[in-house]
Amino acid sequence: MSESSVADGAGMASRHAVLHILNKPPGHARTHLCLATLAATDALVLIEDAVLALASGLDTSAAVYALGPDLAARGLAADNGQTGVIVIDYEELVALAAGADKTVSW
């Protein structure tokens, strides 16, 4: 991805009070806890097994990002059933984490 999209990522992050980073697969109790604490103004980043939520569906009004390499590994694309998901790379994840007020690793 281009440097400008990294800057965009950081710009978006600065609007989010909390950056929630989730690595648990759908159905895991931690997923429910994460969603229960997710404010509409927060952002959720799906990494590792959590990207499978794009296939099973995810009910939130918060901004949702998904880590591209984890999507590719699992044969998924951003449009796999879920709309409005922004695919990011590690550089953009760093920018989001650096720009957020607070991060929670679920």
Binding site: V18, R30, L33, A36, L38, A39, D42, V104, S105
Partner: protein
């Protein structure tokens, strides 16, 4: 800096909950404000009358009851999870404060740790 440490792992079957509580105790030992929140199956750490000696493990109940003495600000428990496991305050170690798990809860803390 005030930290919320969340425990959502069940007692005794794994050490994960203990290692989370060790983190909370460590923050308290260094005079950092810290609060514990028990959620999901994790609320079972709070049940009064545990006897882990029956499976040759150490009790944590007394440590939890003494949390304020160790410098831990509060023992919060998710109200819904308490109900799910048939627990009310009278069946818990003393000092447990039921709360609703919602976005505003996290906003009260500078940092959230959930192993």
């Amino acid at each position: 800096m005030s930290v919320l440490v969340i425990v959502d792992r069940s007692p005794y079957g794994s050490w994960s909950g203990r290692e989370s509580m060790d983190m909370a105790l460590s923050l308290a030992a260094f005079d950092q404000p810290v609060t514990l929140l028990f959620s999901g199956v994790g609320v079972n750490w709070l049940r009064a009358g545990q006897d882990p000696a029956s499976i040759f493990q150490k009790a944590v109940e007394r440590n939890l009851a003494a949390a304020p003495i160790f410098g831990i600000g509060a023992l919060l428990a998710d109200q819904q999870s308490l109900e799910d496991f048939g627990l009310d305050a009278s069946q818990c170690v003393t000092g447990v404060m039921p709360v609703t798990v919602e976005p505003t809860l996290l906003a009260r803390f500078d940092d959230v740790v959930c192993l």
